[in-house]
């Protein structure tokens, strides 16, 4: 494919390079050679599904850190990190009133690096709420919600709600006093609405008080329903950024 880019003379380095990056196996995986020429650099972005979230070229002002402060990207990074640490935590955690608290305790005492998984998951969760809020502020103050990006702003608001719900549902899972009473206070706010409040609260926590019903509901929402929804909306969010012509620029 990219053989014409390496003319004679061929030294040892070139031959090694060819052997590594132009061999049959490499090219069956990556459609382009190693991205050290403009052509391969564009090809790698265009042909790799993960890099293809990006365009191949981007305006120079958008590469400046001070334009986005990477806040949206870091929100996404934290989401990925939370998924990885979350999966590891699921190996050790059973969402039952009898076991939940002990399982969390054991993470700190019996599981190698268990404390690290739990702490990282917790701090990244707080970090994600902060990052998403700051990302929203940067989008607002750079006027990036203006046409044609109106709807992507709305998708963003949905992502903000999902982020808060993810954090809130996760808050209950350690089943300690902090968790229990925070969720009690939070769901009581919903329950206080006239007429629709009490039935809504009942559906949320699967009972009249926070208990086994609430734990399994919050767990299911936290580990599968909300992450799937969030990932879906993120896909739409990123797709729309591309469709709307990349990041906003002054007219």
């Amino acid at each position: 494919m990219a053989t014409t880019e390496r003319p004679e003379p061929r030294g040892l380095g070139d031959r090694l390079y060819d052997a590594l990056f132009h061999n049959y196996v490499w090219r069956s995986i990556f459609r382009s050679g190693y991205p050290n020429t403009p052509r391969n650099q564009m090809l790698v972005v265009a042909t790799n599904v993960f890099l293809h979230l990006h365009p191949t070229r981007i305006h120079r002002t958008h590469v400046k850190i001070t334009h986005t402060y990477c806040l949206g990207g870091l929100s996404f990074f934290l989401f990925l990190g939370l998924t990885i640490t979350g999966v590891l935590l699921m190996f050790y955690y059973v969402p039952s009133v009898e076991r939940a608290y002990e399982d969390i305790l054991h993470l700190h005492t019996d599981v190698r690096f268990g404390f690290l998984m739990r702490n990282m998951h917790r701090w990244m969760a707080h970090g994600m709420v902060i990052m998403v809020l700051m990302h929203m502020m940067r989008v607002f103050y750079t006027g990036a919600y203006k046409p044609p990006r109106e709807f992507n702003w709305v998708v963003g608001v949905v992502l903000l709600v999902l982020t808060l719900l993810l954090s809130f549902t996760g808050y209950l899972l350690p089943w300690d006093q902090l968790a229990f009473w925070a969720i009690t206070v939070g769901t009581n706010m919903v329950g206080s609405a006239p007429i629709l409040g009490p039935p809504n609260k009942f559906v949320m926590i699967g009972g009249f008080e926070v208990g086994a019903g609430a734990l399994i509901r919050f767990y299911t929402l936290h580990v599968i329903a909300l992450p799937l929804l969030a990932a879906t909306f993120m896909a739409v969010h990123f797709w729309r950024i591309r469709r709307d012509g990349g990041l906003a620029r002054p007219l």
Partner: protein
């Protein structure tokens, strides 16, 4: 094919030149952007790992429905709502305000549809000023309202004059005193709604609700009027003084005010509310490290 006239040729040359100029301004995503993203991700990964090694996530005693901690607090990002809960009807603070706030947030681009100030940080002429004004009004306003409900003016008065707060002004000590200390006619405190809305005539159970006008006034009407009225007054003042001329200008002031209120109430709820949700200096508040 359209015949090429000198005009169309000139026009298409201009288009091509513009496209070329744009190209010159562009960088390749690999390596320029991917590099920045990689560094940002690594810095964050290291910082979070370091944080997680040094500070443990909190874990208190096992959940016990019989022992209510004092204070019981929601997660920090909801403490602004819990703060509102102290000053108004719980349904208003817990359901109506967040719903309206989110809808309003989502509606911003449908209100401000110009391309003014797009794609650059605060690039309209008055943007920075309006940000400061909005933030200042939002934060000072919410602090003053919280302090009013704490009867700070009463304490200041007694502190400065040495005499007690005049009893004729008892009703304006805080929001609740408007309900309790004004001579409301007694019938207003309990108007049986079932006698007005005759659901029993439709074969439904008779409404067992009583309307308490003074209570409604204090926990719903005043807060709603303040939350809607103060932002409107802000916008009118900015408009009359010529500070805010366009929709973008108004949005900057309102959004900044909203963010300021959110942050201030979150801080008050987190660091200044102790036992019984009493307003205390932060060093007297035992903070649950959430």
């Amino acid at each position: 094919m359209v015949a090429t006239t000198p005009e169309t040729a000139a026009a298409s040359a201009a288009v091509r030149q513009k496209a070329r100029r744009q190209r010159d301004e562009e960088l390749l995503v690999w390596p320029d952007l991917v590099f920045v993203e990689f560094i940002a991700a690594m810095v964050f990964l290291l910082a979070i790992t370091a944080l997680s090694i040094t500070i443990d996530a909190p874990l208190l005693d096992r959940a016990n429905p019989a022992v209510t901690p004092n204070p019981s607090k929601a997660p920090w990002y909801f403490l602004n709502l819990q703060e509102l809960l102290l000053h108004m009807d719980p349904a208003l603070a817990g359901v109506v305000v967040p719903t309206v706030a989110l809808v309003a947030l989502g509606a911003i681009p449908y209100y401000d549809r110009s391309n003014e100030g797009q794609g650059e940080w605060l690039s309209t002429p008055n943007a920075w000023r309006l940000t400061w004004i909005g933030s200042a009004v939002g934060s000072i306003g919410s602090i003053l309202l919280v302090l009013f409900d704490e009867q700070i003016h009463v304490r200041l008065f007694t502190g400065l004059t040495g005499s007690a707060w005049p009893s004729s002004l008892n009703w304006i000590r805080n929001a609740r005193s408007i309900q309790n200390d004004l001579p409301w006619p007694e019938w207003m405190r309990s108007i049986p709604l079932g006698n007005v809305l005759r659901t029993d005539l439709l074969g439904l159970p008779k409404l067992d609700l009583a309307l308490n006008i003074p209570e409604l006034f204090v926990s719903q009407i005043i807060p709603v009027s303040l939350m809607i009225g103060l932002p409107i007054i802000l916008s009118i003042v900015l408009w009359k003084t010529g500070e805010a001329k366009t929709r973008r200008d108004h949005m900057i002031a309102q959004f900044s005010g909203f963010i300021a209120v959110y942050i201030v109430l979150t801080i008050i709820g987190t660091a200044f509310r102790g036992q019984g949700m009493e307003l205390l200096p932060p060093w007297e508040v035992k903070m649950p490290i959430s």
